[in-house]
Symmetry: C2
Amino acid sequence: MTGLRERKKQATRTALSSAALRLAVEHGPENVRVDDIAEAAGVSPRTYNNYFSSREEAIVFAVTSDRESRVAAAVRASPAGLADAVVEAVVTQYTEPGEEAREALLLITTSPALRTAYARSATALEPPLTEVLAERVPDGPTARVLAAAVAAAVRIALEQWAQPVTSGFVVVSGSLPDLLRSALAPLVPALTAAQARPAADSGS
Amino acid sequence: MTGLRERKKQATRTALSSAALRLAVEHGPENVRVDDIAEAAGVSPRTYNNYFSSREEAIVFAVTSDRESRVAAAVRASPAGLADAVVEAVVTQYTEPGEEAREALLLITTSPALRTAYARSATALEPPLTEVLAERVPDGPTARVLAAAVAAAVRIALEQWAQPVTSGFVVVSGSLPDLLRSALAPLVPALTAAQARPAADSGS
DNA sequence: TCGTAAAGTTGCGCGTACGCAAGATTGCGT
DNA sequence: ACGCAATCTTGCGTACGCGCAACTTTACGA
């Protein structure tokens, strides 16, 4: 049911983001103007801003694309308990199989602005994840809070992973899957409890 | 140990934010330029951007000021269990006693941009809250994740509270304290579990 | 097939965000 | 009391973000 309109939008969207990524890799993130990206994608600069509201957003999108909705889909498809389903879905989807975007991730790690934007992109998990969680937990608001908590945990894992060194002494940076599991671990009790609870009430 | 320098910075900061709030209330949020705010506070427009990176941020700061650090202080001072301490601290600090900022909050409710900025300000809870939680839970990263989860819950409560109606049918908007308690409730198991756990380990 | 409504694109203009470097102010050691 | 170093303020220049209104393209019913 994909009309021509929809496909064209998707096309220019990916054209813009891949152009942004390519130019950023070539000339460095700071030496790419929005006008360059727009020109490379064959649209006007104004149109660029109809799709992305910042240069960083476009570059990051090239790496994340629709990872967020894939996480939600994986959770929905999982037969496991809520907590396990979420953890496994996140770890799987955030671990690039072929690492096709290897140099892109290196680029992101290098630039502070890109690191921020990348971590922030985890927030995009909230809407789709809220929807799937709502299918498994009784209370609507609960689903939203848990989705936000998971998104925040993912964000923190990404931050830690992308962190160069900074800290005075302790450098924790492990592998991304480990960081994700560690960040999600504290939320497991909340996910389990939400699933177990049969009906919502104010608790007291 | 407050030098003159520090006090002056604080002074211009509050001067800017209260000027921003006053002008926004008088002329409407959209009819205030940063030049106006800077002029009202007696500094250059450029200096304004050394303190706040957007008009919304300045206005919101006038309402929140250092609410975030007060929450952290309240948690630290509480003799209760972690979960209760956090919930009570948040509810107390986010419920304005005199509602001195009543018309400011009305203003924020009205403007979409301000609502977004207000909800986003909940993120400022993370750093101070991480620090206090680290005193009560064994694992460092765990404290950070829980703090982020709490901040996200607060953000969601603020969003729901500030929402006009929007939704097709259900209008949930209760009182802010109730919304905060409801939003934090799903995280209680996580907070309790984190406190109970004697020593951290990688799990599997 | 055609006409109209819905959605997308573009140029324009205003206001904003911020790096940079020069000048002003404060902190501190002597 | 003096002077240097650290910090803050400011003007300037460049690029960005986005509302607006005109124009183009797509969708869809008659």
